[in-house]
Symmetry: C2
Subunit: 333 residues, 2 copies
């Protein structure tokens, strides 16, 4: 056990790209659990596009992280010491302990070790899997034979969305940022097609790969990609607005896409945040665990080691450096 607790503190709100100095890595004493509390050693830290939102003071779905506070982040940890008879050393808990090596809590959600490796419970069987599952099925309502487009398709959410849509009998077209990612999604994950938006004209490529138009768009990117998609939607298309990562580093909020086709095609754009579905996570976990066990849903994980690398790792989400779920392994299991 280390004798200090390294933490990433939000020093100032990033303007544009996140820069070294916006967050600072500091060393603090390892916290001591009080009566009824226990000490958690962080095993894995989840890195997500929404972290960038939490660093800002834009209108958002949770309070922003305050300047001077430990950066917020989803975590999986192991109990090291406990003053609470309900929580025993060695038990695994998940939560949002943030970007730090140790934390104390008086309660937490325990995680029974399942058949999948621990990181899977932070990706395909965790929040990102649930985001894909409920966003696509509840809002996108894909029907057999329909065409589903997913942007940021090689990401933790997008890669699962595409595979679920395939299970539902849809034509699935991914949009990703490299030929390698595209090949992987088609060859290994069963996407029907994948467009490298950095190389191809997105409008021409969508026309080629979606000859019957677009019925469902699971939107993680926003910006030009969303503009292009909306030009090719079908009647009553559903746009699941899950994220708009292309704009998270913008210094000024940018305008959105023309809504003309939303009107003409009687289509729908609906915002989606997974926290609304927490009461239904059991439903997701039951079905997704089965799919994963049967090999019907595959997943990628990019693991970066060491809490000190969290900030540079986060930037991989914006530069396209990761494939699938991006995690920091903070300490050994």
């Amino acid at each position: 056990m280390r004798n200090s607790n390294r933490q990433w503190i939000l020093k100032k709100r990033p303007v544009g790209d996140i820069k070294q100095g916006d967050l600072e890595l500091v060393e603090q004493p390892i916290p001591v659990p009080g009566p009824g509390q226990f000490l958690i050693r962080t095993l894995y830290l989840s890195l997500d596009p929404t972290n960038r939102i939490w660093m800002s003071d834009m209108e958002q779905y949770m309070p922003p992280v305050q300047i001077g506070d430990v950066m917020r982040g989803g975590t999986l940890g192991v109990i090291e010491q406990s003053n609470n008879p309900d929580y025993k050393p060695g038990e695994i808990v998940n939560g949002i302990a943030g970007w730090q090596e140790y934390s104390v809590a008086g309660g937490a959600q325990k995680m029974a070790k399942g058949p999948a490796p621990l990181p899977a419970y932070m990706s395909v069987l965790g929040m990102t899997g649930a985001t894909a599952y409920f966003g696509l099925l509840d809002l996108g309502k894909p029907q057999p034979g329909e065409t589903v487009v997913v942007s940021a398709a090689a990401g933790a959410v997008g890669s699962i969305v595409g595979q679920i849509a395939k299970l539902k009998g849809c034509r699935v077209v991914g949009i990703a940022g490299s030929d390698e990612k595209c090949r992987h999604l088609v060859k290994d994950f069963g996407f029907d097609a994948c467009i490298n938006y950095k190389k191809e004209n997105i409008r021409a490529a969508l026309k080629r790969e979606c000859p019957n138009g677009i019925d469902v768009d699971f939107e993680n990117a926003g910006g030009d990609i969303l503009d292009a998609i909306l030009e090719q939607i079908n009647m009553k298309a559903r746009i699941v607005l899950c994220g708009m990562i292309s704009g998270y580093n913008d210094k000024q909020p940018r305008p959105g896409p023309s809504l003309t086709n939303i009107l003409m095609k009687r289509a729908r754009i609906e915002g989606f945040i997974i926290i609304d579905y927490f009461p239904r996570l059991g439903e997701f976990l039951a079905e997704m665990s089965k799919w994963v066990a049967e090999g019907k849903i595959k997943y990628d994980t990019t693991v970066v080691k060491g809490i000190e690398n969290s900030l540079s790792a986060l930037n991989m989400l914006f530069t396209g450096g990761n494939t699938g779920k991006l995690l920091v392994q903070v300490s050994e299991e």
Copy 2:
């Protein structure tokens, strides 16, 4: 009976504002009904913002009017001569006979004369009333106590939307283009408040009049007004996208509003066009006729006389010259 048929022909697609010369008034012989056909004399011509869309070749929900064709328009007419035993002279029919004094048809929807004056069947008891009814109730789903905002509130659709929302127990805030229209909506139509967007700062005024935020937006305007509304929506807000008249005369399609708040508030934007609800018009007519008869829903009509004035009258929709439904009386009842 006149001895010629005056028609408005689309000569070229308007660029920006509609100009004299984009359409041309011509005289043709009165058409002669063939076997099984009948001759209709147009009584009223409906003028609607969507007419501007039909003149363009933008992506739209019906084929655009072709150059050289009679301009499309909703009409109410009376049968003058008939070679069809099912249609008798003197019967009233509605349809889309277009911007002309006479037309022939082999079939048409007959209209039994109801208790309301004929023009009412082209407004509150016609397509514009149905647009307000289904758009608000089916897509907006207003709940008692919620705040409903409606733009172009003094128009044929907006003025009815606001009154239905009041019947459903909502706080109703209209947005219109003059103090006189605003006073009228509050005093005579029971709106809780109305904002003159040409005089007031729309953001500050919305904040003042929607202290609990905005739950439903019935959108007829688009542009800056929609931007401002989206900044003040509540969780799970419903944006009924019925029209975006502020942009119909734009030479270039403009970007849409930032979708950030749609994501953060898990809100929904949904396009709406009344033609999808034709199978359910009976349901609307039954309830709306009752409301009108009981004085619960009031309506305004602006009637311009003479087919020759159709084009200048249409521009009233874009300059704010009319209140309520805008009709051309083409001939005497």
